[in-house]
């Protein structure tokens, strides 16, 4: 036992307007596996939709006990957006067996929880569920996309003074969740460990660009033009890795993957509003041939100058490999060199 006399943290996990993919991703947790990680954090699962035995009235009784204060709730995790439609009624998702809109249950439970965690971009901001005119009137717990507020209001803080902790991502990386819960459990997570969108800075202070295996193509603006090409996907293929806040290319997914390593663009899924980029996801919008979205923190004139310089200097190896699906031209041995 890590800490035998520590009081366990009671966790309740609810799902609403989402796909359940954050839970499925979480089950891919490794070193250690999910149950062991929870145990190490002293987390006791009061109820989770995919792994608990209780259903029906037994579960509804639990919710009522929590709301009455008869059962302590340390961590309320919501996966999926808050569904407010039609016309604010919440009828698009009533909690089965209760006839009550899920959004009402979530609001009541959030008011008695020590910490409230939004798992995934839907719960944080509305996410994919809010795409395309938002037919279900979905929003996040404390944001409606980029607008403060959401279900709980912009002034909401939990019983420890923290706002909703937004583990954004579509889906989340399992470790974003486990590491955040571990930090909450140890009492180390503070307000300034969250960024302006409420995301844990432990992963959101990084950019997807960091550790991208296509960095050399990026440097020389040797660009992919079609799916399966090896080149940089920023110029033509819609990749937002230079702007997206996440550590996907240094932490890796399912052993050794990431979107970029899988050969497709980063769509900035940790950001509020990512679901409506205003252009086809896998095409880069440009003005006068220059991508509209430049790398974070980079002045435009500098980028343009660098890009034209590096394009002029692109080695043949990168030019050819950029538009192939496997390495056609290997790096050469330098004349007289050893490598």
């Amino acid at each position: 036992m890590a800490d035998a006399d520590r009081q366990p943290l009671n966790l309740l996990w609810l799902q609403s307007g989402g796909c359940g993919g954050c839970t499925l991703s979480l089950m891919c947790a490794e070193s250690p596996d999910l149950f062991t990680t929870f145990e190490s954090a002293g987390i006791h699962i009061l109820w989770h939709p995919s792994i608990s035995e209780a259903s029906g009235t037994e579960f509804i009784d639990l919710l009522e006990r929590i709301i009455k204060g008869e059962e302590r709730l340390d961590l309320l995790c919501l996966e999926g957006a808050v569904v407010c439609g039609p016309n604010g009624s919440g009828k698009f998702h009533h909690l089965s067996g209760t006839g009550e809109p899920m959004m009402k249950w979530v609001a009541k439970l959030a008011s008695v929880a020590r910490h409230v965690v939004a798992v995934g971009s839907c719960a944080a901001y509305g996410g994919i569920t809010a795409a395309g005119g938002n037919p279900s009137e979905a929003c996040g717990l404390q944001f409606d996309e980029t607008i403060d507020g959401g279900l709980l209001g912009k002034d909401f803080t939990d019983q420890q003074g923290l706002p909703v902790i937004n583990i954004a991502g579509c889906p989340v990386h399992p470790n974003w969740v486990t590491e955040t819960l571990l930090q909450i459990s140890s009492g180390e997570l503070q307000r300034d460990h969250l960024d302006e969108w409420g995301r844990p800075r432990s992963y959101a202070d990084h950019l997807v660009h960091h550790g991208c295996p296509r960095n050399e193509f990026y440097e020389y603006k040797a660009s992919a033009v079609k799916p399966s090409d090896l080149g940089c996907m920023m110029e033509h293929m819609g990749c937002l890795g230079t702007q997206a806040h996440a550590d996907c290319n240094t932490r890796l997914w399912n052993g050794e993957g990431s979107c970029l390593r899988g050969g497709y663009a980063c769509i900035n899924c940790t950001a509020p509003g990512f679901e409506e980029p205003g252009h086809p996801f896998t095409e880069t919008p440009k003005i006068a041939g220059i991508p509209v979205g430049l790398p974070t923190d980079m002045p435009k004139a500098w980028f343009v100058a660098l890009a034209s310089l590096s394009k002029a200097a692109t080695p043949k190896r990168l030019k050819e490999n950029a538009v192939a699906d496997h390495i056609r031209v290997p790096p050469k041995r330098r004349v007289g060199g050893k490598s």
């Binding site: 307007g17 993919g21 596996d33 792994i51 998702h93 909690l95 395309g132 993957g257 390593r261 899988g262």
Partner: protein, 477 residues
């Protein structure tokens, strides 16, 4: 009854109980998000971003259905490597889903208190009790390692964008091909040691009920999780629980050069050809705006209306030729003609036991195929073909997800999506009544379920519901 957990998404079932038996059932899907509405007006390629996010457990299946529908618009077909890669990625998800279902969703119900006095209870409780059982602690790491295939071939899971109309975005190099085979070998070891207690070859060779009975008796029930289940199934007569209407459909699973590996078809007393132009969706009992009658998905309309009288679900009612069909692993293996499944169905039809046996048998069949596909990959050859979208066209894409037949139907005009309709496996299985009053597949299967003494929320209903491996987020989308 509701909510039902250990299904994907939210579900409510209303039972009319008479003399300790379920007389009729109404199945209600309680969440509406509106993907079909969201997709209208989008660029067709964006469907590859949106539709996988309908569902976190069938994400790749949704990708494949969308990619095939888009391929139908473009008139493109993947090169052999593309087919193999898609099969491997899809099989990875389907097999992982079968495992998740068996270990986390289905078996824990037998570790409930209600069975405490049963002779087999201690064995099952130790192994499958929700959260505390030893089985999940072995399965989760094996599943996570198996899904390293996704990391290699699809970038991540769920919600990959790797699957394209003409193949995948990720060519496989020689060393990666070697690594894939090692991943599959490691997973085979877990299956053989823990799930089956026997070789995959022996499992797929079980070709009759007699052979299965003999196999069960050859070793102690404690020797593997499959045997543990079969022992419980015998003791509880699970072959008598949850009988459906025994009409099974499969779109055909996994493809090489356009041909499915597991056959496409309909089973209704006998094997029949499947005509998907005979598929319609009815909204007479759905919270959907009134329509003149059932519509083929190319003409389908999705317009929610929470105030429709006599409606009880967000789910539409798909029908094939006006008839209810059951989809899933049992349907797939029945249509494909696996001899054990054919005999089980002929003896006792679609039921809780047979659905689970078919799923576990399918794991062995598919993993052996995966080993062969991985060997057939040809590093250096093309993984993806490319063609542009036309301005105006219609197309559809069919796939078998873990839990059954999934279809996407798309119409584009001026280069944008005019209409996008999705019929998911659980839309078929958990459909409400239709305009003829015919109950859906689960509603039929629940009729006649018996109650144990003193039960208000019958455990038999839990078994029947979960035997379909429902995915509620796909159902309504």
């Amino acid at each position: 009854m509701g909510p039902f957990n250990r299904v994907e998404g939210d579900l409510e079932v209303t039972l009319d109980i008479e003399e300790e038996r379920v007389k009729t059932a109404q199945v209600s899907s309680s969440l509406y998000r509106g993907f079909e509405q969201m997709l209208q007006g989008k660029e067709p390629g964006d469907a590859l971003v949106y539709t996988p996010r309908i569902c976190g457990i069938c994400s790749v299946s949704q990708s494949v259905a969308a990619a095939r529908a888009l391929a139908d618009l473009q008139g493109v077909t993947p090169p052999p490597n593309g087919d193999l890669a898609i099969n491997l990625i899809l099989a990875n998800e389907n097999v992982a889903d079968h495992l998740t279902h068996f270990y986390l969703f289905f078996m824990p119900d037998f570790a409930r208190e209600t069975y405490r006095s049963e002779p087999w209870y201690p064995m099952v409780e130790k192994r499958f009790r929700a959260q505390a059982g030893t089985a999940a602690q072995e399965m989760l790491p094996a599943r996570a390692q198996f899904m390293h295939l996704m990391g290699l071939m699809a970038g991540k899971w769920p919600h990959s964008l790797a699957i394209q109309p003409g193949g995948t975005t990720r060519a496989i190099e020689m060393q990666e091909k070697a690594r894939l085979q090692a991943i599959l070998f490691g997973f085979r070891r877990f299956l053989e040691n823990t799930l089956y207690g026997d070789s995959l070859e022996h499992i797929v060779a079980l070709d009759s009920t007699a052979a299965l009975e003999q196999w069960i008796d050859a070793r102690d029930p404690e020797s593997s999780d499959f045997r543990r289940f079969l022992e419980v199934a015998r003791q509880l007569d699970l072959q008598q629980l949850g009988r459906g209407n025994d009409r099974f459909m499969s779109y055909g699973a996994y493809r090489l050069q356009g041909e499915p590996i597991f056959k496409q078809g309909l089973w209704d007393q006998e094997a029949q050809l499947l005509d998907t132009s005979r598929i319609t969706e009815d909204v007479s009992h759905s919270w959907m705006a009134h329509q003149t009658g059932p519509k083929h998905p190319f003409e389908g309309i999705t317009l929610p209306d929470a105030d429709v009288e006599h409606a009880y679900t967000w789910c539409k009612a798909p029908r094939l030729d006006g008839q209810v069909v059951e989809v899933g692993a049992l349907a797939r293996q029945q249509v494909d003609g696996h001899p054990l499944i054919r005999e089980l169905v002929s003896d006792s039809g679609g039921n809780v036991r047979n659905r689970v046996i078919a799923r576990l048998l399918e794991i062995a069949r598919v993993v052996m195929r995966m080993e062969a596909w991985a060997k057939e990959l040809k590093p250096g050859e093309a993984i993806c073909h490319h063609k542009p979208f036309p301005q105006e066209a219609q197309g559809f894409g069919l796939v078998e997800a873990a839990r059954g037949s999934l279809g996407h139907w798309i119409k584009i005009k001026h280069g944008r999506i005019l209409n996008y309709q999705i019929i998911a496996p659980t839309t078929w299985n958990f459909s409400p009544r239709d305009n003829e009053g015919q109950p859906g597949a689960l509603e039929i299967a629940l009729e006649g379920a018996t109650l144990r003494a003193g039960e208000k929320e019958p455990v038999s209903v839990q078994h029947i519901v979960r035997s379909f491996d429902p995915c509620m987020v796909c159902t309504v989308h």
